[in-house]
Amino acid sequence: MKIRFLLPVLAVVYLAIPYLWGGNNYVMSLLVAAFIIAGVALAWALLANLGGMVSFGHSAFFGVGAYLSALLCINYRLPVLAGILMGGIGAAVASIAMLPALRLRGPYFALAVLAYANIFKILAMEFKGITEGAAGVTNIPALPTVMGFDFSSKLGTYLVIVTIVLLFTGSYHLIRVSHYGAALKAMHDSEDATRVVGVNSTLLKAMMLFVSAFMTGVVGAVNAHYINFIDPDYAFDLGWTLLPMVAVVFGGYRTLMGPLVGAVGIFMLDQLVFKALIGTGHQIMLGAVLAVMVLFSPDGLVPLIGDKWKRIRRAQA
């Protein structure tokens, strides 16, 4: 991320938005929901873009992160922030179970991971002694108050999730520009060529899976402490995979800002425009957006705008 992009983004996110709407809990809660999706979308895009794997199972990581953090904070009185970190680590550990699936490609990998996600959900339902089963976990502690600032407030939660998402974006960027990123990029279309120069492609893919799972787990944990309640149906909802996917396709998964712009854009469009226009069945618009984007701009909105912008600049120059 170049500095001239970074500074305006930081200014908007940390100064302009809190200044304009910090007191408006409605806008803040919409933004929190959107950034939670953005966080998962980013993790999903990282796996798709760097690892070359399309996952139908990110709800598994989301759910594991949510449950682990909630249960650790309730049963072992872990501080919430430590719980969130553990949620991410737990999700990464859970992804070890998926390592055998790394041998699979395309739709096969996607389906295998979906199966894993379903299995995790059933386990959460069945291990009642640990997870409370279908009843769900209530009274999950909220984000703490630090030096007088209440992070469980809408503005506070917004700052937390935005910071996490930006940190993740930064890490994604660092991975992408590193040698690992270059090797991963090369692996997509020329795997043998990459392996014969010494790249352990399976290990690299596994690392991307861990990173993606960790990020998703952290976001799932934040969401659990934000909503204060989870049950298997909610925490492992397939929607935690699908909505971020829509966001990524909308924003574009090759770019760094694509998932973020896509998530915030599609969430706000859906909630403020589509819902007002059609009410029942407004998801139809999400389907239409997906289809249209894939057909006409498979690289997403951000590159599309970027191209337009470049063309305009060139025309002016």
Binding site: N25, Y26, G136, K154, N223, F229, D233, Y234, Q271, T280
Partner: protein, 386 residues
């Protein structure tokens, strides 16, 4: 001197507050977050209709205070419910009412609690809620009482209980099982996941292994039909089939007359609705006139919740305590007969008097057959769809 000054200040603040409350006394905003779209939409819409009807009825009957209702679709999603609650509070809502499923209720109730407002719900699936000003006229215990009560009155010694593993159903099933086991009834549980396609293996297990006197089912509409059809094929030797919510409704009866004959289901109303009270008659007529269909029990929950909440708001407004948590205090004082029975709230916010009734589908009627004092018809027992 110091004391007098303080007194004067307090008086000034009080009179200001009183002025403020009289200034807005003619109209109070009440917000409602409900799943009007998404998988819980059907329940959300029924409840919304009842709640709307209560608003109209209240506004017609009250010259002094009016209720302005805002309904927001939360799609049954907690984050969206939370946002909806924030929006309605910022639009001036003095109390909130909402939705399904439990996570969405929690999402919105948290917001209301933080803002110090009353949150009323019809869809919290747990047995105890942990919010300060939370109220719900119905409770899981009501289903348990009706299902277990009916089966105990049937004199059953053994019951097989088939239930969905989802939150609400699992709660009801566990509570029923406990109530029955406490009375010495042998209960066998058969939980199933929504993904199930064929119930015959379960029913056959019941038929050949459990050999119970009764079968009880707790799940959703399409699953009841699947279970009943499977039972109709295998014909286990039981005396009755007792279901939870979603079965004894006029719509289900009209759509699946053959499958549902003689089946029992929890409900609030007989069909055709026979209201003993003036209140009930008014409700049924008004509902039919407004929505051109028969009310079901969810509409009743919405209606009664509205009645109770609006009356509490009116009382608090009269006392000038709206701004000081008066609505919650007035809610706690609630004690009235409604079309769903007596309503008061215990310290957890649930209505201890809440009991559902049990109806049985007989021909094209659904008479109430339990409890005895509410019965409008005779129980066909033993009675089976085949």
């Amino acid at each position: 001197m110091e004391f007098a000054k303080k007194l004067a200040q307090t008086a000034a603040i009080l009179s200001l507050a009183a002025f403020a409350s009289t200034a807005v006394a003619d109209e109070f905003v009440v917000g409602s977050n409900l799943p009007l779209t998404g998988p819980q939409a059907r329940w959300g819409q029924e409840v919304a209709e009842g709640f709307k009807l209560a608003t109209e009825a209240f506004n017609r009957g009250s010259a002094k205070h009016k209720i302005k209702l805002i309904v927001t679709d939360d799609e049954g999603n907690p984050a969206k419910a939370s946002a909806a609650a924030e929006k309605m509070i910022s639009d001036g809502a003095v109390a909130l009412y909402g939705g399904f499923p439990t996570p969405a209720v929690v999402g919105a109730a948290n917001v209301a609690t933080k803002a110090g407002l009353v949150y009323m719900s019809s869809g919290y699936g747990g047995t105890k809620a942990d919010f300060k000003n939370f109220f719900q006229i119905n409770a899981i215990s009501g289903y348990q009482k009706a299902i277990a009560g009916t089966m105990l009155d049937m004199g059953a010694k053994s019951v097989s209980l088939i239930h969905n593993t989802k939150e609400g159903s699992a709660y009801v099933a566990t509570a029923v099982a406990k109530a029955l086991t406490d009375k010495g009834v042998k209960v066998t549980m058969h939980p199933y996941d929504s993904a199930i396609a064929d119930f015959k293996p379960i029913i056959n297990k019941i038929k050949l292994q459990d050999r119970p006197e009764l079968i009880s089912m707790v799940g959703y509409e399409s699953e009841y039909i699947g279970m009943l059809r499977a039972a109709k094929v295998l014909k286990p030797e039981v005396k009755a089939i007792v279901c939870a919510y979603g079965v004894a409704t006029p719509k289900m009866m009209a759509d699946f007359p053959a499958e549902l004959q003689n089946v029992y289901g929890t409900t609030m109303l007989s069909y055709p609705a026979e209201f003993a009270t003036k209140d009930g008659k008014e409700f049924a007529e008004a509902f039919k006139k407004t929505f051109n269909k028969d009310p079901d029990y969810l509409a009743q929950f919405g209606y009664v919740s509205g009645q109770v909440l609006f009356e509490a708001i009116a009382r608090a407004a009269n006392a000038g305590t709206i701004a000081k948590g008066g609505i919650a205090a007035e809610m706690r004082k609630t004690d009235r007969e409604t079309i769903t029975g007596r309503v008061t709230f215990d310290e957890t916010g649930f209505n201890p008097h809440f009991v559902l009734r049990m109806g049985q589908i007989q021909g094209n009627k659904i008479p109430l057959i339990w409890p005895k004092e509410a019965a409008t018809g005779k129980m066909n027992f033993p009675g089976l769809p085949w």
